[in-house]
Every structure is written in structure tokens, then in C-alpha cells.
Symmetry: C2
Subunit: 262 residues, 2 copies
């Protein structure tokens, strides 16, 4: 059996069930390239689990996954992954390959920015439209802008994940993400992401030095949010409880909120 | 400080960080009415944490939260909650009340059906539109149907949560949820939830006896999915990897999938 175990948002994010699965496994693999998990590295996890881990890179997981799947035919193999498993397409692909080889799979869930973005900002979970990823400039995509346009049309909030290339040690910052979105705005001109748009930056969610900051794009563009991971949330139509939350938990300026009120 | 700690989807879903917070707290409260967490009860949690817990009901949390907030002014108070904190509006409301009293808050995240529904069904996380809750018949709402119509129009998947009244020991089953949605279909007639619509039932997500079953509404209506919690997922337009996932992980019949292919 192959058990996907989520590491959650930062150190200590793995669940009690996940710890048990990893401790009882015949082999434990670890990938840390699909997302950043502040405070988590191989040594710290080996300390928590009390056993050695084998790190797998993108190439192994996507091109030669037999290294993990073959032993899983007869043994219990655990793959530790950032966040909640299966948010990254790579995990879905690996799970399908396992199924086609007759290897059973299980998932042990953990905190994900998909759900946590609502909690941290105080925006209602059921008012989020689909999320999208803002890519680096060398692989441009209009998709995050299109998703934002559609979500705003429906009054929905939008979570924008930011590109990561762990192999190149590059993680997009909120500032770079805002620049990329502004460039799309200049190209398409729907007015959904201008310098006066209210945006929320979430940095290092759940970590001891987590930061949640709301403000106008033009102002936050020039702020320093510390090391990644960062995400952006673009609020849609705000309920008054949501506006209050942005003020109390994200320091949103009162004037900006008035414009979005429901 | 008041720390909201998520219990995740089932027993053992609390994170390592959450366990630490609860063990170090001056007082630990527990609410189990906003969602069902299979395998979790007061005794089992007291065993894991090695300390007594105080259970709070809806009335206390929503009407007289001072019991929790007053001690949090000077002490570290932990509130254990089902799933990922803040998905339930009650938690957002309590956090706002705390802020207005000058009580700092923190959130320790955990697995949520909001994120897990994608992983368990193999449907892509970024293709989910907003979710909605199907209410019991005595408090009818057209909202889940409207959300489904809008999501389907955009080709998006829809997670439908099912009503829960813990005080009355009532949790809606997938069968009741499908009946309620069919009644809305008869009323509005957009054709988004008929007896031939492909739907996925997820029961007791992550538990040892979890069940994920895809099929036509007319067929699944008459199946038994065991005890709640259940949720429904109505797929939108399917990528071929998603269709494969539904076949391998949810036993979807091939014929139904062909109709939804991308």
C-alpha cells in the first residue's frame, strides 16, 4: 500500500494519524518540491518520526516512480508531501499510476492553504470561487486573470497561489505576484486588479511568524512580507462580518472596505 | 490568547502542533457540533491529550462565549473544533468577539473536507467552484441549486455539504441530500441534477471505513453509504485524468464518464 501523508502548512502540521502511519511504515519517502513548508526539513522530520527518510525529487516522482511503487506492492510505503495531498497534480498522477499497477492507496489529510486562506483572512469559505496559480514570467498564462474576472463577476473571493520552482530555489513573492497580475490588467483592462484593488497577502500561514496584511495593491506592492511562501487573496463582495475580519485580522484600511461593502 | 485547533476529518486528524498547543494550554474546550468527526469523542481526546476537556455546546459558544473569552484575557485557552477552524461561521464570529475584547487569537489548521473532497475523488482542486450546504426540509433554501447551476455553467465541480443538527442528533445522509436536490431540480428544471446526473458520494472521509462512490443519482439514491458524515460532489467538465480517477477511486461506470469528457 502507498499512503500519502500531508505535512500541512508548516512545521508540526502533520496529523497524529499521519505520524502513526509514518512510524509504522516499511519505508518513508519525502518530497518537498510541490510547496514550501516553513520550518520543515529532512533532519527535523527525521527527529519527529525517529527514523530515516528518503528524499525524492521531481524527476523521480514524475519520471521514474517505480522506485516508490515497486516496494509498495508488498510493503507499506509512506510518501510525505507538503500541505494536503492531491492538491498538486503530481500526487493525483502518482496515485493513478499506483492504481494501474494494482497498488492500493490511502490519503492522510492535513491543513491546506486552500481551506486556511479563508480562516486566516476571515473571509467566508463558501464565498471563494476557484483558485489559480500566478506563473513566473517565462511561462506566462492568462488563466489567473480570467479566473479573477469570472469570480469577481459572481462576487466571489479569489485565492491566487504563487509559482514555485524548488529545483531553482525560486518562490514567487506576493510583490512579484502583484506585478504579474498588474501586467495582465494592463493587457486586458477589465479593472479587476488595479493599484486601488483591495488585496490580502498571507505569508507563512500558521507559522510563528505568519503575516496577514490587507490593503490596496499600490500600497502593498512596496511592502516587505519576509520569506515565502506567500499567497494573494482578492476579496469579492464583502459581508459586514468579513469586512470587520479584514480590519481586525489583516489591518485593512476602513476607506477601502467601504467600497466593497455588501 | 485563544487558540483555535482543528481536529481534522476523523480520529487522529489533529496536528502535532495542535497537540502541543492543547497540552501546554491553561484550559482546553471542545465543541463537536459544527461537524461530525468519526472516531472522536471526549474520552478518546482526553486520552490522547492526557488532560481533561470541557465540552461547550452551541448555546455557550454563540450566546455566552464569555466563559471562554474571559479566561483567554490572561491565560492560554485552546478551543478544539471539527475539521479546519473557521470553515464554520461560528468560529469566525467567536474570533471577532475575542478581537473586540482585546484577546489575541491563533489558528492551528487541520484537514478539511473543503480540500479533501478533491483528493478523495481525484478531481482537480482548482476546478472546484464555491461549495454550498443542502439544508433540511424544514429550512429550505434554493442556494445549493443556484450554486450548482452557476458552477456547471463554468464547467466547475461542486462540493455539496449536508446539513447537521448535532443537538437533535440529525445528520443528513447522501440519500436525503440527493432527494432534496432532485426536488429543487423539479422546481427549477435547469437539468443540473437529474436522475442521470453523475454524482460522487464521500462518506466518513479519511476514516478506516471511508467510502467514495461515483454513479448516477438514480442508482446511488438507493444505495446505503453507512453512517454519516456524508458529502456530495457533482463533477463539472472532466479532464481525462479526472475521469480515470473517478473510475479507479470511485468505481464510476465508464458510460457515464464518456458523456462528461472534455
Amino acid at each position: 500500500v502507498l499512503v500519502f501523508v500531508g505535512l500541512g502548512l508548516c512545521d508540526g502540521g502533520i496529523s497524529y494519524r499521519g505520524l502513526r502511519e509514518a512510524r509504522e511504515a516499511d519505508a518513508v519517502y519525502l518530497e518537498l518540491y510541490t510547496s514550501l513548508v516553513p520550518g520543515v526539513d529532512v533532519r527535523s522530520l527525521e527527529g519527529v518520526l525517529g527514523r530515516p527518510l528518503k528524499v525524492v525529487d521531481r524527476k523521480t516522482l514524475e519520471e521514474t516512480p517505480g522506485e516508490i511503487l515497486e516496494p509498495a506492492k508488498s510493503q507499506k510505503v509512506v510518501l510525505l508531501v507538503p500541505g494536503d495531498p492531491m492538491v498538486a497534480t503530481t500526487h493525483v498522477d502518482l496515485r493513478l499510476r499506483a492504481a494501474k499497477m494494482g497498488v492500493a492507496t490511502r490519503i492522510v489529510h492535513a491543513g491546506s492553504i486552500i481551506s486556511a486562506a479563508a480562516g486566516l483572512t476571515g473571509l467566508q469559505s463558501y464565498k471563494f470561487g476557484p483558485h489559480a496559480t500566478v506563473p513566473f514570467r517565462d511561462a506566462p498564462s492568462t488563466r489567473p486573470y480570467e479566473v479573477l474576472v469570472e469570480n469577481r463577476r459572481r462576487g466571489l473571493h479569489t485565492l491566487l497561489l504563487l509559482d514555485l520552482r524548488a529545483e531553482e530555489m525560486r518562490a514567487m513573492t506576493a510583490n512579484e505576484g502583484m506585478t504579474a497580475m498588474l501586467e495582465l490588467e494592463w493587457e486586458f483592462g477589465n479593472g479587476v486588479f488595479t493599484e486601488s484593488t483591495l488585496v490580502v497577502v498571507v505569508a507563512r500561514a500558521e507559522s510563528d511568524d505568519a503575516l496577514v496584511k490587507a490593503g490596496e495593491v499600490g500600497v502593498l506592492m512596496n511592502s516587505d512580507f519576509g520569506p515565502p511562501p506567500h499567497v494573494l487573496v482578492v476579496p469579492g463582495k464583502l459581508h459586514f462580518l468579513e469586512a470587520e475580519s479584514l480590519r481586525f485580522f489583516a489591518g485593512a484600511p476602513a476607506g477601502v472596505l467601504d467600497e466593497l461593502g455588501g
